[in-house]
């Protein structure tokens, strides 16, 4: 990802130059060399990803060490350090090899971006780089990690491949993207990885021929032209003849059309995009499997297939089970075992864990990673943040790229004219294309020129993309949290509950896609969205700047505010414009900006809020507030009117959803119903995506869907027991976070209305939040009240930070509460008056006096705790309980200084860990509470920077003081961070004996190789 922002870019420059000379000498028309631009784009892209954040942080660190020279500009030569250059040989999809040089320390993203540049590929998120390990197994390069760490031995040989097969290739924006996908599929077919029938071989082959050779022309092609091409693993003369027969009928078909036809057929193949892994069953087969007679399933050889929709289990060629992503609560691996935890469903009352034995540990981990990535890419709106617990063992691996939703969104903004590219023939397999880049480059340049014309605009565009993405991340996180929450809830729920959703289910994925796109488009067109975009656009540069700024500067900016003013303004305007919000708008502005920034800049920040938020499941009579996270939810809510946004949590059983068959009885109604639901979902989805907000999932039984009504009530009850999942002993990660999208989709039916409304309203999400913050109490109906409340709740719980930020923001302009989070250790001390929580239930009594009890769940649960953690947790929890809810406003500014060693450490990796006391999480009060005061204090020492936010709030007569401390410890690698953390916690406790620690978020940037990052 983006290695390129800031420091990384420096280093890169020299290389780029080289390359530029090399490949593109001719191109050179543009001063802004295509390369540069292209670099920027990826960089932008990168911003969206966690990895990038890491980098940013890293950079930030570096900067600080360097005495904060502002590096706004990328000085080309500055970074020239003696770096080792490695030659990489990349096998491209047409069989050719592309050789290029990269720095030895370069991250995977650098290599990937270069390859994509070479290929002139913009929609690159579907692709990836593989390299063979010792066992000759293909492994995906992690773009966020250094190449050298991923290639233990041997030459730097890679292959460029499709990583995520788009379920509907027609939705790809550019023909060139489809072209490369076709190439991959041809190889899949010829190699036998993608089995197909004779008839399919002929059809696919014929389109391949049309694409590569054009119209059938016996004079030019000769009679045997086809035998040079490969169509099938075992190609026969008969096959070739059939291919030729078909080829003759395609006259006039363009290559792009032929490729489209090719893909339309290929995508229907059952093994399309299925990544197979050998395994054996551990234990008995899943209950619903139909074992062969008299057979013990233990140890049976199977294949696990990972695909866009979930996990498939094959025995030989037979599918013996399937677990859609929504059905999977958790994925983990341990040694050479791979486990999936299944949500209770039709066939089982309780969640169950199914184990598979992989050939070895590496295989298990590889499978696990692929699952994590596929799940994130296809099911989430934005990638999950870094794993929360770093103290524990286990992989912190996360998919850091863009999700399909994000990439679609981004690619919808591609404005270049369709690039011309030469389709290499598969028969030229062995010819080197390394210099073939020329034509491509030309196109590229063209592209660039265009952009140059309105260069600024372009950049902006990129910025938009980035920004957007970033924002989405937040959404993701939130969602993730929600997911967790929901998951929990879901578990509780009855599998059987038939939901109206099922009807919706009917929608084809394709349709969905469409809807999706449509939404996006629509959204973009909308003024609001645009504004958002712009705002964000503006910001990106700022971000860049910030990165370069020293941490202290960052902090200041945080306090002072910054950039987003324009954005703010817009928001404010919008807010004011919308009647409902107007009252709140005043207050709101602050909040919004924060969120925006959060979204943009810092994941960590985002995490916190979201996480905090997650846990809460609110139940109000009949209404379920699952989780109100940020803006997204807000948006929806706001626009539609608070109630409008209701997502039914109940829907969780995606599986059922998917699987559900509609009753024909309803046939007459169907058409309408189906369509709308599908559309709705999409829309919602989109909305969410766009806005990035979290979802507020309210279930209103009554209002929305009739059918749901039943469920809702039930659901509400069921959901109440949202129990945080306990961290499992196993070391590995969990995907628990993920199910959001699904939910969203499911919810759609309900949501639809809301969404529509929202659209009309076009009110920014942010606003909504603001409103919440503001505590709008005038609610007509309980529902509305709920809605308004919910957001508030969220905020409240979410983070003191937010609240604080809000206040300050007003004064300052609110730049980024969130940004601060770059710090390594974040501490939050919260004193809350928790009405001792009944977890997960929010009781709404009367619209005005709403007490919501929110239970925090899962995130704690999500994170597996290492040995160390448990203790802490325990401690925290204990304290929490002990801590008397009442709290008066002991507002102490505490600066916790953690002594650290001075040596500057550049952290390559960022780990974020959050500890929350399960109980503590619950912020009982629904009441938004009145914010009495908020202050932020920052202090620095050589190695430590502490930022303290103190917020006083009065809720329902109880005053609450929350203190959030962010402590940045900069130090040597040898610093025992855990100890430092413990120390910090201890100090915090000592300083505020009357307060309890409710949450600890740790961001750890670690650089394994000290030299990296810096020099």
């Amino acid at each position: 990802m983006t290695t390129e922002s800031g420091a990384a870019s420096e280093a890169k420059q020299p290389q780029e130059n080289k390359e530029t000379e090399k490949g593109k000498a001719k191109a050179a028309a543009e001063p802004t060399s295509p390369q540069n631009q292209s670099e920027q784009l990826p960089a932008a892209t990168g911003h969206s990803t966690p990895a990038r954040k890491d980098q940013e942080q890293q950079e930030g660190d570096q900067v600080s060490h360097r005495s904060s020279t502002s590096r706004l500009s990328r000085s080309p030569l500055k970074g020239v350090k003696k770096t080792k250059i490695m030659e990489c040989k990349v096998s491209l999809l047409d069989g050719s090899d592309f050789t290029l040089n990269v720095e030895k320390r370069a991250k995977g993203q650098v290599l990937f971006d270069k390859i994509c540049d070479h290929l002139n590929l913009l929609e690159k998120d579907y692709y990836g780089i593989t390299c063979r390990d010792v066992e000759n197994q293909k492994n995906w390069l992690d773009p966020s990690k250094e190449l050298k760490k991923q290639i233990r031995t041997g030459p730097w040989n890679f292959a460029f491949n499709v990583k995520f097969y788009p379920p509907d290739p027609s939705q790809l924006t550019e023909d060139i993207t489809r072209y490369y996908l076709c190439q991959q599929l041809r190889d899949d077919v010829v190699s036998g990885r993608l089995p197909c029938s004779f008839a399919t071989h002929t059809v696919l082959g014929s389109y391949t021929v049309q694409s590569e050779l054009g119209d059938y022309d016996p004079e030019e092609l000769g009679s045997d032209y086809i035998s040079e091409l490969r169509f099938a693993p075992n190609q026969t003369k008969e096959l070739e003849e059939k291919v030729m027969e078909l080829h003759k009928t395609y006259k006039g078909m363009t290559p792009a059309e032929a490729e489209m036809h090719f893909l339309e057929n290929a995508k229907k193949l059952s093994m399309y995009g299925v990544d197979l892994h050998h395994a054996k069953l551990v234990g008995s087969l899943y209950e619903c499997l139909a074992p062969a007679e008299g057979e013990d399933s233990e140890g049976v050889e199977i294949m696990l297939g990972v695909c866009s929709s979930g996990l498939l289990i094959y025995r030989d060629r037979l599918r013996i089970n399937r677990f859609a992503w929504p059905k999977i609560l958790k994925i983990s691996y341990k040694r050479n075992n791979f486990y999936i935890k299944i949500r209770p469903g039709e066939f089982e009352q309780f969640e169950s864990t199914i184990g598979f034995k992989l050939p070895n540990h590496r295989a298990a981990k590889r499978l696990w990673k692929v699952c994590v990535e596929h799940h994130t890419f296809f099911r989430l709106i934005s990638p999950e943040c870094q794993p929360k617990k770093f103290l524990s063992l286990g992989s912190k691996f996360r998919y850091s790229g863009r999700t399909q939703a994000q990439t679609r969104r981004a690619s919808s903004m591609i404005i270049r004219p369709a690039p011309l590219f030469e389709r290499s023939t598969s028969k030229r397999y062995n010819m080197s294309l390394s210099l073939d880049g020329a034509p491509i480059m030309e196109n590229h340049e063209t592209l660039m020129k265009d952009s140059a014309a309105d260069g600024a605009a372009k950049i902006i565009t990129k910025g938009d993309i980035i920004t957007t993405v970033t924002t989405e991340k937040k959404a993701e996180e939130e969602k993730a949290e929600q997911d967790d929450a929901q998951t929990d809830a879901v578990e509780t729920q009855e599998p059987t509950a038939t939901t109206p959703l099922r009807h919706d289910t009917k929608t084809d994925s394709e349709q969905t896609d469409f809807a999706f796109d449509g939404d996006m488009t629509a959204t973009e067109s909308e003024a609001d969205d645009d504004s958002e975009m712009r705002t964000q656009d503006t910001s990106p540069p700022e971000e860049m700047v910030k990165h370069q700024t020293s941490i202290s500067e960052l902090k200041r900016s945080f306090l002072e505010t910054g950039e987003s003013t324009p954005g703010m303004t817009e928001w404010e305007k919008r807010l004011s414009s919308s009647p409902a919000r107007s009252p709140k708008a005043e207050e709101a502005p602050m909040i919004e900006p924060l969120e925006l920034q959060d979204t943009k800049d810092e994941q960590p920040a985002g995490e916190k809020p979201s996480k905090e938020v997650e846990p809460k499941a609110t139940e109000a009579a009949g209404y379920l507030v699952k989780y109100v996270v940020d803006s997204i939810t807000t948006d929806l809510a706001s626009s539609s009117g608070p109630h409008g946004i209701s997502l039914s949590t109940t829907m969780d059983d995606d599986v059922f959803m998917d699987g559900t068959l509609r009753e024909v009885d309803e046939v007459s109604e169907r058409a309408e119903t189906k369509v709308s639901p599908g559309a709705v979902r999409q829309e919602v989805f989109q909305a969410i995506t766009d806005k990035k907000g979290t979802l507020i999932i309210l279930k209103e039984a009554d209002d929305k869907v009739d059918a749901e009504g039943k469920e809702t009530s039930a659901a509400g009850e069921e959901k109440e027991p949202v129990i945080p999942e306990e961290a499992e002993a196993e070391e590995i990660e969990m995907l628990s976070t993920s199910k959001e999208i699904e939910y969203i989709n499911e919810d759609t039916s309900v949501v639809v209305e809301a969404k529509t409304t929202a659209r009309k309203m076009q009110s920014p999400k942010m606003e909504i939040k603001t409103d919440d913050m503001t505590q709008i109490k005038g609610t007509d109906s309980p529902k509305k009240a709920m809605a308004s409340w919910i957001p508030e709740v969220v905020k409240t719980e979410a983070s003191e930070v937010i609240s604080v930020a809000t206040k300050e923001v007003k004064q300052t302009k609110a730049s980024d509460a969130m940004q601060q989070e770059e710090e390594i250790f974040t501490f939050e001390e919260v004193q809350t008056e928790l009405p001792k929580s009944s977890p997960s239930q929010i009781t709404v009594s009367g619209s005005s006096a709403t007490s919501l009890e929110v239970s925090t769940l899962g995130w704690v649960s999500c994170s597996e705790k290492g040995p160390a953690e448990p203790e802490e947790k325990m401690a925290v929890a204990t304290e929490t309980e002990a801590a008397p809810a009442e709290s008066t406003g002991p507002t102490g500014l505490d600066v916790v200084e953690v002594g650290t060693k001075e040596a500057p450490v550049v952290h390559t990796e960022t780990k974020t860990t959050t500890y929350e006391s399960a109980e503590a999480d619950t912020n009982g009060d629904v009441d938004p509470g009145v914010l009495l005061s908020a202050q932020t204090i920052t202090s620095e020492t050589t190695s430590t920077t502490t930022t303290t936010h103190i917020t006083k709030t009065v809720k329902g007569g109880i005053s609450e003081t929350r203190i959030e401390k962010r402590i940045v410890i900069t130090g040597d690698t040898d610093i025992d961070h855990d100890q430092a953390l413990a120390q910090a916690i201890k100090e915090a406790k000592e300083q505020h004996p009357d307060m309890s620690v409710t949450k600890v978020v740790v961001h750890k940037e670690t650089e394994i190789t000290p030299e990296e990052g810096e020099d």
């Binding site: 059809v203 139909a290 060629r317 037979l318 399937r322 039709e346 066939f347 559900t660 068959l661």
Partner: protein
Amino acid sequence: MAGLMSDFGCYTHAIVRAIPASLAKEALRSSHAEVDLAKARREHELYTEVLRTTLGLEVVELPADESLPDCVFVEDAAVVCGDTALITRPGAESRRRETEAMSKALKDLNLNIVEMTDENATLDGGDVLFTGREFFVGLSKRTNQRGAEILADAFKDYAVSTVPVLEGLHLKSFCSMGGPGLIVIGAGESAQKTLKIMQQMSDHRYDKLTVADDFGANCIYMNLPNKGHVLLHHTAEQYPQSVKVFEKLKDHMLIPVCNMQKVKVDGALTCCSVLINKKANV
């Protein structure tokens, strides 16, 4: 433009087989019902007539073989999809030779024949539900895993999922396709359970049409030129409740077909023909 996996329900040909006199006494059955041979033959004639005259299919009628009392149920002997025909290895020993005539007939139609030669494999066509996008193979008394594997190998384009048949003779004894993406399913508990498993196993979404009688869920869907959606189903006389449900399918041309006698030997509507779409073949 060539396209695969389209044309679900499009058929041009049908293979049927006459009823041998031995059916009355010797055909396998799960009950002890007496079959009226004459009536059965009359039913079968009507059935064939519907295919030929009403629907305009080209019907290939194989002669009865007295040594194969169940030979009228041709569905079990072959699975045809696209231009490929899998000759099965029926689970009932007494029925194995039914495939010979079937194989020859299919060859005559220029289909690609795949023989199931594995001695360990058994598969009855009645256990194979093709939805247009994928196969479900019921693991039943007549069909085993190995048989399903061979089927999967014969039709590589499609996902082939195995589902348990908990009750009834075949998978299609309680379900069938009622249209593109529409599964007709019996209301029985085991039928419903099997359906849920199918749902779980599938990447695709289906609608379901639940009918009161498991056996009533067996019907024949076709999509024919000039006729649109056609559904052959059991008569109201036989399954009044189920027929009421079918009658809600407004878009379908509904053709009740009497099947009172063949039911006695577990013969459903789909059992009595193998449907082929020759146009699909290039």
